[in-house]
Every structure is written in C-alpha cells, then in structure tokens.
C-alpha cells in the first residue's frame, strides 16, 4: 500500500476501523468460497445428503452479506480518507501563499481525490484476498490431493512472474505510448477551447479534418499500446485456464483407474480456479489503482513540505503590541525577500519607516516589488534577511492572526466568495447587519446593491452574480470599512483596472477610510497618489530616493 496513505489511514480512526473491517470481510468472503466448494462437491458426489444444501444456502447467504458489508465499509473508509486528505490539503493553502498553482490544487482537492475510490474500494480488498485465499486453497488441496496441489503450486507463481515479466519488458514502450496518448487526447480539448480563435481566422472547418486525422493517429497508437498491454492479461488468462485443464484431465484419468474418489475430484475441480481468480482480480484492478496512487502522490507532494516547514520556523505566540496604543510605527530594516526559483531578490535591502497615521503611496513599474512589500507586512512572505518591526516588535515573533486583526487589506483583484454580498463584506468579522450596511454605504456598495436581484442577499462568486471590476473593488473596500479596529490600511492598486468614473468613487471612499489610520497604498494613478503624505518609489526591488508628494506641494 502507498506509504503515506497507509500512515494517514492508520492515524484516522474512521479510516482504520472501516478499512480493516472491509478487508476482513473481503477475506472472509473469499474463504467461504472454500466451504462452498466443499459442500457443493459433497452434494454432487453424493457423499453428503441433499440436506447439505441447507448449510450451502447459508454459506451463500453469508457470502452475500459479507459482500454487502465489504462494499459499505469500503465506501465509509474511502470517504473518511478523502475527507482527511482534503482537510490536510486545504490546511496547506495559507502556507503556499496566494500565488501557488491554485487551479491544480482546486482540481486535486475536488475531483482529483476521487481517483482514490477504485484504489481503496477495489484494489486494496483484492490485494488482501490475493494474499490469503490462494494460500488457503493450496493448503486444502494438499490435504485433498497431492498431485493437484503440486500442479497448482507450480503454475500459480507463473501469474505474478509472467505479469511482472510482460510488464517489465513492455514498461518503457507502454509508458512512452501512454504519454503520447495523453498528448493526443488533449488535442481535442485544445481545439474546442480555441474554437473562437479558429473561427475568427476562418480555420474552424479545416480543423474538423485535423480532428479526424489526430483521432485516427490516436487510435492507431492506442491499439499498438493495447496489443502489448493486453498481452499480460492474455498470459494470465491462459495460465489459469490451462492449469485447470492440467488439473482436470489427470484427475479424470485417475478416477478412471479408481485411484481417486469423486468427492475429492469435484472438490479439486471447484477449488483449483479459486486459487488463480484472486490474482487475476488483483491484476485487472491494477491500472485503476495506479491512478489512485498517482493522485495520492500528488496530494502528499502538496501536504508534505508543510510538515518540514512548520518545524523549521516555530511561531512564538507573543501577543501583538496592545491595540490601545493606536496605529503602530512600522519599520523595515534592510529587508531582503527572495522567491524560490528566482535569482534576483524581490526586495533588496529595503529600509522604510512609516509613522503612525502617515499615508504613504508606493509607486514604481510592475515587478518592482510593491505587492511584495504589502505581502511582507501581511505575513504572507517572510524576509530572508532583515527585520520588519511593528512598534519595535519583530513581526516574525508576533501571533500573525492577532497582528492581521490590526490590518485591513484591499488586494488588487479581490476574491468574491460564493456567499451573499453581506457575508462577503462581513468577511472574518462579527459585524451585524447595521454595521454591514454602514460599511456598504461608506464604500459606495449601497449604490449598486439595490440593483442586484436579491440586494445584500445576492450570492456572488464564480457561480453567482457578475459584478464589474469597480463593484468588486468597492466590496473589498467595504470589507475594510467593516473593521473599525483596523489601524493599518494596505491597498494594492485598488484602481488599476478601473475607468475614470469608478476610480473617483474608490478614491473618495479610500480617503474616508484612511482617516485616523496608517495607510500604505500601492498606486499607479494620480488620483490615488494624491491621497498620500509621502510617495515612495520602488524599482527592481530597491528603494529609490524619496520624492516629496507632488500634490502635497500643490496644495
């Protein structure tokens, strides 16, 4: 079994119990087949009376019951394990920061984990059965008829040996071909996605013939792969059915000579296939199981680094400086931030002091490190060198949750959650309806909330109502308004994608929001920059000499 998965299954009580019972039920049902064969052979050979059909029916009923239990327990184990994995995966989200390959993670935590179902409900029970039942059959055969037992013992290993041999000799070929298949399979999706582009250049109809050609190539390649891949199952099938012939014919001849009784002969005939069946059943589930293993690998690749990461840097739970003292004095001391996989530092020895109540605009070309600076203050990234201080306390030592409670952050592209407008505004705060209304008024959400189908109860998000970029920004600003206790305002180009009119609304709201607070605003547009007491310019991760705010002079 998959190592990490096994560890997780052991740790989760719901999984451990159900999985263990499920495997036990599968093995028990497998062993009952032996009893069934015994009884059936007895009745057919005339050794047992017809009354023996009653216990036979009971055995059959028990097998049915065990099959039902196995399926149910497997379902329980699978859902419990998927839930546990999902919890671990989603728990990792924050650590990855906002920029991790998010699409992949969403898919993995959703449908991706479903690939584990066949692994848990099909493959694992079949492995347990394959490990025990053939052994039991062989033991019974030894007791019944030595010659048959020897034939079975000699041929049985051929199944894993041939399976491995065929698999091993064709591994490289099949792997290469599966990769090619995945590429060809992706072609159709690619064309369908790009259809509007093809249409724009009059190439849509031509592509239909390309699709046919590619599909033909895909089929030929697949069949070439399958001819080899199915060889292993041909070998397995042949070994098991020829072994049956190898058993049945000598048994018949020995019956003829009178050296064997009918009961034993029938028992051998019924039991022999049962020795091969579990191995073949395991083989047929192997491919689906490998997909489950791949999904598990992917999941643990995301989950695992967190364990190492957490050990690396234990967070002291020192309380954040008392909130009554008003906005903190924020100081960056020679801060260097590096992102993995990138040579140049995102921020290079940046020193900056923001006084309580000061409004600072950060300007600079894209990629200069402006957003990194905000992420640093939010604790999304940590400095490789240097320190970030809030009232002389190192941010690295603070309880991040408590520190963030003192911040209000408006990102460049705020996310709207699949929840109502009101819940989207109240995000993370315990604000009541009146407070939410007030925040909505202040951020000028109220202006458009009335036009939404269900007002403040309208559900937003991917599947919800569509809002324009300006409306989204206003909801994000309302979130900030909903936290009266926040002393530091962090704004990341809140008007970057807005037209002039929406911008004016956001600027007016921001001006009000910044009153009595420290504000650090990443800005491009003049109207936003005008709000600041001071303008700080970043270029290539370095602070360039400060410029007095132009607007400040003008006023």
């Amino acid at each position: 079994m998959h190592k990490d998965l096994l560890r997780l299954a052991r740790a989760e009580r719901g999984v451990r119990l159900h999985l263990a019972c499920c495997l036990a039920a599968a093995v028990a049902a497998g062993l009952l087949v032996l009893v069934q064969a015994e009884l059936l052979a007895g009745v057919l050979s005339g050794r047992f009376a017809v009354a023996a059909l009653f216990p036979l029916a009971l055995v059959v009923a028990s097998r049915g019951l065990l099959g039902w239990a196995q399926g149910m327990l497997a379902g329980r184990a699978a859902t419990a394990l998927k839930s546990a994995l999902r919890r671990l995966l989603l728990g990792r989200v924050e650590g990855l920061g906002p920029s991790y390959r998010s699409g992949e993670l969403v898919t993995l935590a959703g449908r991706g984990l479903d690939a584990l179902d066949p692994y848990l409900t099909g493959y694992l029970p079949s492995v347990a059965v394959a490990g025990i039942v053939p052994l039991a059959v062989v033991v019974r055969l030894f007791a019944a008829d030595l010659a048959t037992a020897v034939i079975v013992v000699l041929t049985l290993p051929l199944i894993p040996v041939f399976g491995a041999l065929v698999g091993w000799t064709t591994k490289a070929v099949t792997e290469r071909q599966w990769r090619a298949l995945a590429r060809l399979g992706g072609h159709f999706l690619d064309v369908v996605r790009g259809l509007p582009t093809l249409r724009a250049f009059g190439r849509a109809r031509y592509q239909a013939s390309v699709i046919r050609r590619v599909a033909e190539a895909h089929r030929t390649a697949t069949m070439r792969t399958l001819r080899v891949a199915f060889l292993s199952s041909l070998v397995l099938e042949l070994v098991s059915s020829l072994s049956l012939a190898l058993v049945a014919v000598p048994v018949g001849l020995r019956l003829l000579s009178g050296s064997l009784d009918l009961h034993t002969a029938l028992l051998v005939l019924l039991l022999a296939p049962e020795a091969y069946l579990p191995l073949r059943a395991m083989g047929t589930r192997f491919h689906a199981a490998m997909e489950g293993v791949a999904a598990a690998d992917e999941a643990f690749a995301v989950i695992k680094p967190s364990q190492g990461g957490r050990e690396k840097r234990p967070r002291a739970v020192r309380p954040a400086p008392a909130a009554e003292s008003g906005p903190p004095r924020i100081r960056l001391e020679d801060v260097v931030v590096r992102y993995p996989g990138r040579e140049e530092a995102a921020l290079d020895r940046v020193s900056l002091v923001v006084e309580p109540g000061e409004r600072v605009a950060i300007v600079g070309p894209s990629g200069a490190g402006k957003s990194t600076l905000l992420h640093l203050l939010l604790g999304f990234t940590t400095p490789a060198e240097g320190r970030v201080l809030a009232d002389d306390a190192d941010l690295a030592d603070l309880d991040l949750d408590e520190w963030r409670r003192r911040l209000a952050f408006v990102p460049q592209r705020p996310h709207l959650f699949a929840a109502s407008v009101a819940d989207n505004i109240a995000l993370g705060s315990a604000a009541g309806p009146d407070e939410i209304r007030a925040a909505a008024e202040a951020a000028r959400v109220a202006e458009f909330a009335g036009t939404l189908p269900r007002g403040y109860d309208t559900v937003l998000g991917e599947r919800g109502a569509n809002l324009s970029a300006g409306q989204r920004q206003r909801i994000a600003l309302a979130r900030a308004f909903c936290r009266p206790a926040a002393e530091v305002l962090l704004l990341d180009e809140p008007t970057a994608r807005l037209d002039g009119r929406s911008e004016a609304a956001i600027v007016a709201a921001t001006r009000r929001l910044a009153e009595g607070r420290t504000a650090i605003i990443v800005a491009h547009r003049p109207a936003m920059i005008e709000l600041a007491d001071r303008v700080v310019r970043l270029d290539g991760g370095v602070l360039v000499p400060p410029v007095p705010a132009r607007s400040g002079e003008a006023r």
Partner: protein, 573 residues
C-alpha cells in the same frame, strides 16, 4: 451504413453507426470467450463425473480434447475481444468528437462557458468508449452465454433450465436496472453537492490572501469541510446501493446453484447430468455479475451522451441565410445603423449604435467596461445576432451573407485569444497557412514579438503542457495573427490589455503606425495616440454618448475628457 453521414445528432445509437461489422465481431469474440469459460467447466465436470463411473477411456477422449481446447481458446478469444472492443470504442469516440466539433463550429453560446465546462464536455465524449467496452459488449456476451447455458440446462432438465433462467434474469436484468436507476437518482443528488464543495475549495484557494488578511480562513475551511461532509454522506449512500447490488449478485448466483441441484435431485437426474447442470449454472453467472456495475456506469453514460446531444442541438447564435449572397469585394464600406443587440433577456448590450467605416478609415471605440464595445465587434464578426437595425457591407446586409464570408472580411484580434498546444510558428500560421515565411516574420516584427519569438524558438511548443505565454506576449501573438491574416476590415479588441504601461504605450504606437491607411476598428481604454485616428466613438451603456476627433472630444466635458485627464496625470507621475 456508410460513414458519409454528416448529421450532427449525438445519441447512444449514432455513436456506433457505421461500424456494425466491427461491433458484431467484438461482441462475438466476447461471447466466445465467455462460452469457452462455461464450456471448459461443463466439460471438465462431465469428464470427472463420467470418469467416476469408470467407462472405457475412449468414452472420455472427446471430453479430454474439449477441456484442453476450451482452456486454450478462452484466453485467445478474450484477447481478441478486448482488442476488437477497444478498437471499435475508439472509432466511436472519434466519430462522436468529430460530430460534436462540427456541431460547435457555427458560433454558439459556448465561448461564454467556462473552461471547466468545456473540459467536462470533452470528458463526456469518453462516455462513448465506456458505453461499448463496459456496457454494451459485456451485456451482449452475457446474454449469449446466459442463453447458451439455459439451453444446455434445458437439454439436461427443463425445470433446472427454468430455475437458471430466473436466477440469470435477476442478476443480469433486474440488478443492472436497479443499479442504473439508483445511479441516476444518486448522481442527481451528488452533482450539486460536488459543485458546492468545488466552489468552497475554490474560495479557499483563490481567496487565500483575502481570507488570511481578514482572519476568516478557519471559518472558510470549516465551510469547505461541511460541504465535504455533505458530499461524503451522499457518497456513502451510493456505496450502500452498490454494496447491496454486490451482495444480491452473490446471493443470486449461489441460490440458483442450490436450487438447480435441488431440482435435479428431486427429478432424480443422474449424477453426471446434475454435476454438469450445477457447474454450468455456477459459471454462467461469471459474465452476468459484472453487469450490475455496468448498469451503474450506463446511467452515467446516458447522462453524458444526453448532455452532448443538448450541446450539439443548441441553436447557433446567428441564423445563416438559406441562399447566401455573394461576398462583397474589397474595398469595403461598413455601415452600422441603429444597431440593437441583446444577450438573452437582459437589457440591450447595444442600443441603437450607428457608425460608418469607409475604406482606409480608422475608428476607435472607447468606453467603460460593460458599455458594449466587445458586443459591437461580435456583431460585426457575426457571432451574435442582430435584434434590430443593420450592418451593411458595401450596401449588402450581413444577414444575407454567410457568417464565414463576413468573418473572412472583418476580423482581427478578438477578446480572449487562445494559444494552441502547438509550435510558435503553427500558432501564428493558423492565421495565414499560405503566407510566406517573410510575411510571417513581418507580422511578428510589426507586433513587436520578434525578440520573444527568437528567444523562445520558432519550434517551441506553447500551450498547456508546453511553455507558458505571459499576458503581454499572448496579446502580441494575437496581434501578429491579425496582421498576418490582413483582413479588409481589421478589428482590434483591447490590444494593449494586460500589458504594463511602458510596453502598452510602445505597442499602441506601433499599432497605430501599422494600421495607417488600413480600415480599422479599434476598441481600447487607453487614449494615448488616439489623436491619429479619424473618429472616436464613446460608448456608454450600449449607446453612443460622444463622437468626434480627439481634439473635439477633449474640448467638451464628458467621459472622454475625464479619462484623458486621468491618463495625463498618470504619465506625469
């Protein structure tokens, strides 16, 4: 049944048309493999029980040969069945995909759908494979085997045959029908739970920054795990059904054998015949029992094919004329008059827009997002239907032309350009398959993509599995395509979108240079350089609120002057 059928209907039946012979072959191979399995056990049972009566060896020789022959042929037939079955399934899938694609070619509402839905649709075409390999072919083989087993039993003892038939019907017909019905019911409940979980997970991941900053992560995580719990409960319910089906199948098999033996004993059937009847019954269930799982899959397959059928049957966005008028020859004059376009039942996206593009004239359309700028371009490209008003090309109403002809005349850089999984060269060449190497390079140069193309390599594969393309490069690639295609009327939808200020400025300057003297309609929200165009149309709320040259528009208060002043300030800063 010839493959020349070009209808676009998609149904379980249409998926397999044109391959009857291959299908029969695959079905027969499967049935032969199953029959060989049954015959192997039956002949072995006969051999053993008859041998126990100690007849002369000659009486057994046929059975011995039969046992060996069936043992060998079973594996070979199975191998043949699997190959033939997959071959036929892949052919069916290819046919379904092509039919689906042909149905999608006329502009439908697809572009509005998310990428997620598109990949689901493509996954749905895989259902055809499952339909054949996992449902129809096994069912056919099971049917033939079952009938054969009942016939054999009938020769031995008609009453036993009846018992066997009943057992097989329960396991092979009632059980799959039950699992199919249950799967239909459960998937109707599971699908929304799954979507709910996906939405919560997406919120957690995509909204990670917002949640962390606002300390709302724990609550969102709890909401996601609640959704997970609801889905888990439903999945457990479904597992219960499948488990019950498994149990009932085992029960049906075992009890049928018991009943057959009982019937045979009661009828005083001989030992040999009883053993053969019992073991034949036992093995006859082997191809039948997997049908319960096939029934479950069948429900999914049918749903997938129905979804495809609905997609394929979606009426195209624009009505094509029965007899298209000949396409007008360039140079083209485009006259838009009182154009009204509406998406669905909403407010009109365009509400009485008029403009004229004479040959060589360049017109810019500006306005806030949602003003209808892109809708205007879609109407010109005939991918949305006109509600009222008209668009005329050299006096010919576009509704009298085929939409392909219109797009051959009016096209360019559209919204959301797509990068195909293909080389840089092929990604460009799709806009000019016949263009010379020099022409391709010239287009790339004019789109300022040359440095990137050289650095990346012309034969580097782009797209999902290949090299990623940044937003700015994507835009330039799309521009290079548009310039390469060189339509009589060039449309440019936000060419500087997603570029940083500096490159955007450079690109717009180059663009205005490259389009001098070319009939162009430019949609933009960047005003720098627009003093060069002949006319600027300000679109707000689907209506033209201002029009004139740059000089005219900055002279009067309004959207244009507001935006111009805001932009001028940015440049100074």
């Amino acid at each position: 049944m010839s493959g020349a059928k070009t209808d676009t209907a998609i149904s379980p039946l249409s998926a397999v048309t044109g391959m009857g012979r291959r299908l029969v072959l695959a079905g027969l191979a499967g049935a032969a493999a199953d029959l060989a399995g049954v015959a192997l056990i039956a002949s072995a049972a006969w051999l053993i029980t008859r041998a126990a009566e100690q007849p002369p060896l000659a009486a057994l020789s046929v059975a011995i040969v039969a046992v060996r022959a069936f043992a060998t042929s079973r594996g070979v037939f199975r191998y043949g069945e699997r190959l033939a079955g997959h071959d036929v399934a892949l052919r069916a899938q290819a046919g379904t995909r092509e039919r689906l694609y042909r149905a999608l070619i006329p502009a439908g509402p697809l572009p509005q759908r998310g990428a997620d839905l598109l990949s689901r649709m493509v996954d749905d075409t895989d259902a055809v494979q499952d339909l054949l390999v996992r449902c129809l072919l096994p069912a056919a083989a099971a049917l033939i085997t079952g009938v054969a087993a009942v016939v054999v039993a009938g020769f031995l003892l008609p009453a036993a045959a009846l018992v066997l038939a009943v057992g097989l019907l329960v396991a092979g017909v009632l059980l799959p029908a039950g699992t199919a019905a249950a799967a239909r019911r459960w998937s109707a409940r599971i699908a929304p739970a799954r979507a709910d979980l996906a939405a919560r997970v997406a919120d957690l991941v995509h909204g990670a920054a917002d949640l962390a900053a606002y300390g709302a992560r724990d609550r969102a995580l709890a909401a996601a795990m609640d959704a997970d719990g609801r889905l888990s409960r439903l999945e457990r319910g479904q597992a219960r059904i499948n488990a019950a089906a498994l149990g009932v199948g085992v029960l049906a098999q075992g009890l049928t054998v018991v009943a057959v033996v009982l019937t045979a004993q009661a009828a005083g059937l001989g030992r040999v015949a009883t053993a053969v009847a019992a073991l034949t019954s036992l093995v006859a269930f082997e191809p039948v029992l997997p049908l319960a799982a096939a029934g479950e899959r069948f429900a999914g397959v049918v749903a997938a094919l129905r979804r495809l059928g609905e997609t394929a049957a979606t009426p195209p966005a624009v009505r094509e004329p029965a007899e298209p008028a000949p396409a007008p020859e360039p140079p083209l004059t485009v006259e838009v008059e009182d154009l009204v376009v509406r998406h669905g039942g909403r407010e009109p996206a365009l509400n009485g827009v008029s403009l004229t593009l004479t040959p060589g004239r360049r017109v810019a359309v500006v306005g806030p997002s949602g003003a209808g700028k892109s809708t205007l371009l879609s109407a010109l490209m005939r991918t949305v239907e006109i509600e009222s008003g008209s668009i005329r090309l050299n006096g010919v109403d576009v509704r009298r032309l085929s939409s392909d002809d219109v797009r051959a005349l009016i096209t360019g850089l559209t919204q959301d350009p797509y990068v195909f999984q293909a080389t840089v060269r092929d990604n460009l060449r799709l806009a000019g398959p016949e263009a010379s190497e020099e022409e391709v390079e010239a287009a790339v140069r004019r789109a300022r993509l040359d440095a990137w193309a050289e650095r990346t390599g012309w034969d580097t594969v782009l797209g999902e599995d290949g090299r990623t393309v940044s937003g700015g490069q994507l835009q330039r690639l799309a521009l290079a395509r548009a310039l390469l295609y060189d339509p009589p009327v060039l449309l440019l939808d936000e060419p500087a979108e997603a570029l940083d200020e500096e490159t955007a400025g450079l690109l717009m300057a180059d663009l205005l240079d490259a389009t001098r003297g070319r009939t162009t309609l430019l949609v933009t929200h960047r005003l720098r350089g627009l003093e060069q165009v002949d006319e600027i149309v300000v679109l707000e709320g689907g209506r033209v609120t201002q029009r004139g040259t740059h000089a005219d528009l900055v002279a009067v208060p309004g959207y244009y002057r507001d935006l111009w002043e805001s932009e001028a300030l940015t440049r100074r800063a």
